[in-house]
Amino acid sequence: MLKAGIFIPELLGNLGQSPVTRVYPFVESVVPEGFRGTPRLRPGACIGCKACVRDCTAEAIEIEQLPPDPNAPPPEPGKKNVGKKFKMILYLDRCVHCARCADVCPKDAIWLDEEFEVASFTRDALRLEME
């Protein structure tokens, strides 16, 4: 049955309420726990297997070996990659924040932070190098 003005009580009820819209960026915006932000590398944890490079949807990750530390002891024979250090280059402009890199990493070397304000004026600033 059609009733004129059926919507009016709701509108009047809302008049007395404060606005729902938050005045971001003047008010801090909080993301929930488990938010998928920027991938980060735990220092020294990477073993250079490149599983993340292989599975990255956006092809946004590069893993490069760092020059060997001259003071480090020689690696034991038969143990691959021990003592070697790697850095991750992340192209944040390409990253789609799917967290596949963190899932596929056998050493849990990659984790995602909760940073969401990652916009930048230049593309170069979005090329992150992590060791």
């Binding site: 049955m1 059609l2 009733k3 004129a4 059926i6 919507f7 709701e10 509108l11 809302n14 729902v20 993301v31 929930p32 726990e33 488990g34 938010f35 998928r36 292989r54 599975d55 990255c56 949807t57 789609v96 924040h97 799917c98 967290a99 596949r100 899932d103 596929v104």
Partner: protein, 399 residues
């Protein structure tokens, strides 16, 4: 074209279109007497990109086919891959996949209801509906880690478990949402300015909807009882108690009512799922990266209608072919036709009533008919006969 008929082009860029598409309407005075549409302004090459990526990369790539039904596309793809690999997904994983799917249906329908209200100039309803949609978006962000691209699926299950606190929180929020939906159902059918604007607009008869294979709420509003969740239940939908909503008004009003009532059914499904959430694993512990040779067609009831994914595996870790048929593809042709007989001012709401998503729909196909290479073209009739044979043999469905 007779002299009194005038042709107005709408698109590819037009204020009422959210994405590029071209319509040509023949009008006599204010009345529309002919309509045509032309797609192809938004081809992104996702299907081809999938052929060069492994299955895990494809999953997140296909999630980006659509911003609203992102979960639908990954679910359809993952279901197809699981069928080829013959995997049995743990029940808890399937339940969580369904929870996400139904929450997505809720937010998609709420978004559409807001857009529909906006198209007819009912801005208050638009604002209120979108305010309530935020409740659902917040739940989705909490359980998956992102508002839009949830990335919750993985081959063999889901990636994130639901804690008991989250489960209780969702049930609490759903109570509020259900109250609001009951209110919208009342508004949708009782507010004279709203009902008067959408009643009798964009009419599509049941016969024509069935003939043109319309899908989703658009077809159900024309009294065609089609819903993959009932017709060919995937995941655990066969165990759920819910109604298939249809309406016989065959116009935009019917589409509003069907969507609002369907949201109430979605709430019921989520409540059932969360109350009977089984214990156990959420995903298979070890899944091979290589997918054996085989083909699979997966059907999924996306918020806009039936979403079909075709996957062919060739024994490597990359698919040989992925084909995506988004629901808008099935609806757009007949929706354009449904505008005939309405007025020019009805075009935005009549086209928007299918909840169109043109970017999801755009595909490119090159047909090579070369007898030397053994390629042939299958006609629609041959394809239909093959389909009937396959379904009667493998699924026991009689036609």
């Amino acid at each position: 074209m007779e002299k009194s008929v005038f042709r107005i082009p709408i698109g590819p860029q037009h204020p009422f279109l959210k994405e590029p598409v071209k319509f040509d309407f023949d009008i006599r005075g204010e009345e529309i007497v002919g309509a045509r549409m032309n797609l192809g302004y938004n081809h992104r090459g996702i299907e081809k990109a999938c052929e060069q990526r492994n299955y895990y990369q494809c999953m997140y790539l296909l999630e980006r086919v659509c911003g609203i039904c992102s979960h639908s596309h990954t679910s359809a793809f993952v279901q197809a891959v699981e069928e080829i690999m013959n995997l049995e997904v743990p029940k808890r994983g399937l339940y969580l996949r369904m929870v996400n799917g139904e929450l997505e249906r809720l937010h998609s329908h709420l978004l559409w209801l807001g857009v529909a209200a906006h198209e007819v100039g009912f801005e208050s309803l638009f604002m209120l509906v979108w305010r309530d949609r935020e409740l659902i978006m917040d739940i989705l962000e909490k359980i998956s880690g992102n508002r839009v691209n949830y990335a919750i699926n993985t081959i063999g299950g889901v990636r994130r478990d639901l804690t008991d606190a989250q489960r209780k929180e969702i049930l609490g929020i759903l109570k509020t949402v259900r109250q609001r939906l009951d209110y919208y159902a009342k508004i949708g059918t009782n507010e004279p300015s709203f009902v008067g604007r959408i009643k009798g607009v964009g009419t599509l008869s049941a016969e024509r909807a069935a003939e043109m294979c319309a899908v989703g709420p658009f077809a159900r509003a024309s009294n065609v009882a089609t819903d993959v969740r009932k017709d060919d239940p995937y995941a655990c939908y066969a165990e759920m108690d819910f109604q298939l909503i249809t309406h016989d008004s065959c116009d935009v009003l019917g589409r509003v009512i069907v969507r609002v009532l369907e949201m109430i059914e979605s709430c019921k499904i989520i409540e059932q799922l969360l109350e009977t959430l089984p214990e156990g694993e959420i995903a298979l512990a070890k899944v091979s990266r290589r997918v054996p040779e085989g083909v699979a067609v997966s059907r999924y009831e996306a918020p806009r209608g039936e979403d079909v994914h075709f996957v062919r595996g060739n024994g490597t870790d990359k698919p040989e072919r992925v084909r995506v048929r988004a629901p808008t593809m099935a609806n757009l042709e007949v929706a354009t036709e449904s505008v005939i007989g309405s007025y020019v001012a009805d075009i935005p709401i009549a086209i928007a009533s299918i909840d169109p998503c043109y970017s999801c729909t755009d595909r490119m196909a090159i047909v090579l008919r070369d007898p030397k290479r053994g390629t042939e073209v299958t006609t629609w009739e041959q394809l239909r006969r093959r389909g009937i044979e396959w379904y009667s043999k493998n699924k026991g469905i009689r036609f």
